[in-house]
């Protein structure tokens, strides 16, 4: 019956509603294809973009690719960007706006060996901590956390960060930052059960991956923004609810066809995406405020500005009917 009806509808409606040419949308990913972006793959695989009449192209990120620049330059329509990138670009005059926070908790965590006795930032005193020289998420959160707790960074011995954690494994490095969705999985695969120091436990709340676009697109094609966001969030909901399927879909895209690794990454990121509090993608002004202040403190912003311009709840409210919960 339903089939018949839809058939009739198809027959009856096709001439009066000619299918529009799909809107071509390019999405700049934050890194190479991996489970981190599973929700976007799900939206594509399940036809949510097609349903919104969107033809999507994923632009891979990676070493040497300036994700934020690709969006501001118009090479990509949307970007999966870190909030600090958005805030910094905005302070430089670029009109980047965040639409939704996919990762509403930061995957940044500081690890110390289980037998090291290091369980909280105050224990860092006199210890070796690995950090990069550039000011990115690890460093941002580390300094913010130390400042928040009133701990002197000078008492900590900073050593270069090694993504292979060689120094950490042979105890030359006592504390290393890592992503709970990446490095931590590798450590645990090694059989380690490190003590974890989460910056969010010490008042440092950062979003990780947010979906952003230019103000121009928002003002010119708000409908396209809504459609794209709706399809993406629906894909993310499916990825969370059916994460095993999401892993399978991810393996179609990713270079690293390690199902076990992608699965572990997926499991680790589920609580970061779906916190059990609000709808997927939902953002809180106080968190943006907090992030802005940390960046300002660390003098990473070219100039101060109204942080509420860097994000908008307009589309989330439209999609979720105004409710975060």
């Amino acid at each position: 019956m339903r089939l018949l009806l839809s058939g009739l509808l198809l027959l009856g409606c096709q001439p009066s509603h000619p299918k529009k040419v799909p809107d071509e949308v390019k999405l700049q990913l934050k890194w190479v294809h991996q489970a981190q972006f599973a929700g976007f793959y799900m939206a594509q695989e399940k036809g949510y973009y097609a349903k919104e009449n969107i033809k999507i192209t994923f632009l891979e990120g990676g070493q040497g690719i300036n994700n934020a620049l690709n969006v501001t330059s118009g090479k990509a329509d949307f970007g999966v960007l870190s909030p600090e990138d958005i805030l910094m670009k905005r302070s430089q005059g670029e009109s980047l706006t965040s639409l939704a926070a996919i990762y509403r908790r930061s995957a940044v965590v500081f690890a110390a060996m289980a037998d090291s006795g290091i369980v909280r930032p105050s224990d860092f005193k006199g210890k070796t901590v690995a950090l990069r020289y550039e000011q990115k998420d690890f460093e941002l959160q580390f300094y913010a956390m130390m400042k928040r707790l009133g701990l002197a960074v000078s008492k900590v011995k900073i050593v270069p960060y090694d993504p292979a954690y060689t120094g950490f494994y042979n105890s030359k490095v006592e504390v290393t930052p890592c992503y709970s969705t990446g490095g931590l999985i590798k450590m645990r695969q090694q059989g380690l059960k490190p003590n974890l120091i989460w910056p969010s436990d010490y008042g440092i709340h950062f979003y990780s991956d947010t979906l952003a676009t230019m103000d121009k697109l928002i003002s010119e094609k708000p409908d396209l923004v809504t459609r794209f966001l709706r399809a993406s969030l629906r894909g993310w909901r499916d990825a969370i609810e059916e994460y095993r399927q999401a892993v399978a879909v991810t393996l179609k895209y990713s270079q690293i066809k390690d199902a076990q690794l992608q699965n572990a990454m997926m499991e680790a990121m589920l609580p970061l995406v779906h916190t059990g509090e609000d709808q997927i993608g939902w953002m809180k002004p106080e968190v943006w405020q907090g992030m802005y202040h940390i960046l300002l403190e660390q003098k990473l912003l070219a100039k101060s500005f109204d942080v509420s311009q860097a994000y908008t709840l307009r589309f989330l409210k439209e999609i979720y009917g105004g409710k975060g919960k």
Binding site: R148, W198, D201, H205, I240, E241
Partner: protein, 612 residues
């Protein structure tokens, strides 16, 4: 179709229809009752579990509130709130509150961690889990809300604990009502899962679980592990429950199994409680009921078939016997009797039938007796006839030998003793000889006559005209001296024994020749015509007539109307004619008028083919 199966099927239909209706009504009623009972049971489980959940939370709430109101706890909390970490008083207070109040409380169960948060920034100043100390909870609802009243933060995933968590918090205030801290307790969700999942009966599929507004399992369902806050569930029941409804549904659950599910929205916790039972289990007793009803119906049907067959036989047996009896008697067996002991209408009919058979038999018997008597008489007569003929034949035959001897010796005497005999003697001898010859003729005629009685008739086509002409030529010499006219008219041809018919055509004209002798102008006319089924022939003469008074004696053996002196002859000729005509199935008669001569008629049936 035969009567018995017809009646049986009728019986079956008459019984099955009400059985089917009653059976269906019973089944439907039973099914409704069972389903309603199942639904009531599921709904009551939800209410019961909801109460258990409230009781569990209330107990824990009052426990933590009691903790927050302890005098010493308030004292220590105020120390921790007013002093900084390096202060020895801070350390003492922290040690005391953990060792004397928080840790002892853990032993009573319910919580797996109890901690104290400072009013400033929500810093965890003391905790039963030492690793949690120093963390800030200023953004957490359980701290923000817990500052003013007892708060329960629903089930959420705690990244720092890396597991689902539920936290109750309550403020600690000094006598003046100033906030000294917030005490928090993390509830053991394993305990909640146990309470929710606890089986209320022996049902193998009953399954109760909680689902949050994001469609995620909050407690572990019965048939899965590690689902809490990791696995979403979207079923008809869950969606209905999450939309704020209380009710029951038939749908497929998270295992894809068809279930009856009761859902209830718990607004105070913003979660939905679901209790399901597999339809297979719920309907097992319905299926059982259906089987029982079907079994009873089948048993009754079988019984009805047997009863139907029995009654059908009782009714149809006499009818069938009657029909068979009629058949039997119609076939000729008059001895057959239906014989019945039953006193009903069919019994009466059977008895009437038997009486009819009896009467019929009596009639048939008397008829048969009569026929038999006729047959016997006929046989007797035939035997007597045959005997008589055999007798006359043998007599005739045997008489010829002595006759020849008499004639022979008479001639010997005439020839050898002619000299010794005088004329008178010779005359006597001649008389003897002529009489013996007459007797021989008589015997020959008798033999012929008797042979005609036994001789088989050989049928062939006879041209009567031709035969009459041939015979008339043979008779001419006898009629030679006189002027005798033979008129042979048309004679219809006939099928019969040629020799016998020829005898008729000799005897009748020669008879006519004989009796016309006194006439000067004798005329003999032979003619015939055809009738419907027979040929009529006549031989007419104008000779000596006979008195019609003696017409019956004409055709008798040795019957003579004239003396042998007047007309020669043995008196057998017409008897032979009559016998031949009779053997051909015909009739012969004569008519005569004084002065006008005589006419002999004979009629032969055309249809005759064979004597047998």
């Amino acid at each position: 179709m035969k009567l018995a199966p017809k009646l049986t099927i009728l019986f079956l239909l008459l019984s099955i229809v009400p059985i089917a209706i009653v059976g269906y009504l019973a089944y439907d009623n039973g099914r409704r009752t069972i389903v309603q009972e199942t639904i009531d049971h599921l709904v009551s489980i939800n209410i019961f579990k909801n109460n258990e959940l409230i009781r569990w939370i209330e107990n824990n709430k009052s426990d933590i509130e009691e903790l927050a109101q302890r005098f010493l706890v308030r004292q220590y909390a105020s120390v921790l709130a007013k002093h900084e970490a390096p202060d020895p008083a801070y350390h003492r207070a922290k040690g005391n509150i953990i060792e004397e109040h928080l840790k002892p409380r853990l032993k009573y169960g319910g919580f797996f961690e109890l901690f104290l948060m400072c009013p400033r920034h929500g810093l965890i100043s003391a905790s039963t889990d030492e690793k949690q100390e120093g963390k800030y909870r200023d953004t957490y609802p359980y701290f923000i809300e817990g500052k003013s009243r007892t708060h329960i933060q629903g089930i959420y995933y705690s990244p720092s604990l890396e597991k689902p968590a539920m936290t109750i918090s309550t403020p600690i205030k000094d006598k003046q009502g100033n906030l000294m801290g917030v005490v928090g307790g993390r509830l053991d969700l394993g305990e909640l899962s146990k309470i929710i999942g606890l089986q209320t009966g022996t049902s193998p599929t009953e399954d109760t679980y909680l689902v949050n507004t994001f469609n995620f399992f909050v407690t572990e369902p019965r048939f899965a592990q590690d689902y809490a806050l990791k696995k979403a569930v979207r079923t008809e029941g869950v969606d209905a429950g999450l939309s704020g409804k209380d009710g029951v549904g038939f749908y497929k659950n998270y295992r894809g199994e068809p279930v009856i599910g009761a859902y209830k929205w718990l607004p105070e916790f913003k979660i939905c409680i679901i209790t399901e039972v597999d339809q297979a289990e719920a309907f097992a007793s319905v299926v059982h009921l259906a089987w029982v009803i079907a079994g009873i119906a089948s048993a009754i049907s079988i019984a009805v078939v047997f009863l139907g067959l029995f009654f059908a036989r009782t009714i149809t047996r006499p009818v069938r016997q009657l029909a068979e009896g009629a058949e039997e008697i119609g076939g000729g067996n008059l001895e057959h009797r239906v014989g019945t002991a039953s006193k009903d209408k069919i019994g009466g009919l059977s008895r009437a039938f038997d009486r009819m058979s009896e009467n019929l038999k009596a009639i048939m018997v008397s008829r048969d007796e009569l026929e038999q008597r006729v047959r016997d008489r006929t046989a007797q007569l035939e035997a007597a006839n045959k005997e008589l003929e055999a007798f006359s034949y043998s007599v005739s035959h045997d008489l010829r030998a002595p006759l020849r001897a008499i004639d022979g010796f008479s001639r010997v005497i005439m020839e050898d003793y002619t000299g010794k005999l005088d004329a008178e003697g010779k005359r006597y001898l001649n008389i003897i000889r002529s009489n013996t010859q007459k007797m021989a003729q008589l015997i020959d005629d008798l033999l012929l006559f008797s042979r005609l009685g036994r001789q088989e008739i050989r049928i062939s086509d006879i041209d009567m005209v031709k035969m009459a002409k041939t015979v008339s030529k043979e008779l001419k010499p006898a009629a030679h001296e006189r002027k005798t006219g033979f008129n042979i008219n048309e004679l219809p041809p006939f099928h019969g024994d040629q020799a016998m018919i020829r005898q008729v055509l000799i005897n009748l004209p020669s008879n006519a020749v004989k009796f016309t002798r006194p006439k000067e102008n004798a005329t003999i006319e032979v003619g015939g015509c055809t009738d419907e089924n027979e040929n009529i022939y006549y031989v007419n003469d104008n000779g000596v007539e006979f008195d019609m008074q003696y017409v019956n004696k004409l055709f008798g053996v040795f019957q003579r109307l004239h003396s042998s002196e007047e007309f020669e002859g043995t008196g057998v000729g017409l008897a032979i004619v009559q016998r031949i005509i009779h053997r051909h199935g015909g009739k012969v008669w004569a008519e005569g008028k004084v002065g006008e001569g005589a006419t002999f008629y004979f009629v032969l049936p055309r249809g005759m083919r064979d004597e047998g």
